[in-house]
Subunit: 107 residues, 2 copies
Amino acid sequence: MRRFGQVIKLKSDMEERYKYLHANPWPEVNAMIHMCNIRNYSIFLKGGYLFAYFEYVGEDFEKDMEKMSQDPVTQRWWRETDPCQEAVDDAAEGEWWANMQEVYHLD
Amino acid sequence: MRRFGQVIKLKSDMEERYKYLHANPWPEVNAMIHMCNIRNYSIFLKGGYLFAYFEYVGEDFEKDMEKMSQDPVTQRWWRETDPCQEAVDDAAEGEWWANMQEVYHLD
């Protein structure tokens, strides 16, 4: 299992929209996330930053993310959520949600 | 079980010190965290922000946090780690690590 922490900015005028969408996630999107071997997935908000935590239980993360990105319903979902977000300034090339470095873990 | 997401700033000149401390956590500190009913505790770093995720499995979070704060070894640990950190601008009164709002969860 691999743990991920990721960060992205939330546009201040999109906060209510983003919260509404994530309080009412589309079942097909949730099912696809699960099918792509992601578990225990939470998103937290504070001060214009979104933080995501999840656990990846599959064998090939890049392949699973590619599968997710090809799903038509997920693509429609992202067309709703992407305009709410903005990559952090120091995101790596091509990153949307920026991966954070795990500096501590205790089971 | 209650999930927590928390955020705090890491001073740029303290990054290496913070990472060193958390790559070599004191066993007594880890034991106290566990005794205070915290599980699956991770800290992530990106762009000057630290994000913590953990799960609380006890019955009285405030009481357990009070117990932790009374532990002499934990107090010494915090004397090492606190100078590395700085509360975020919109932390609530009395908060050090600022609690974030959970806006999404999928098991």
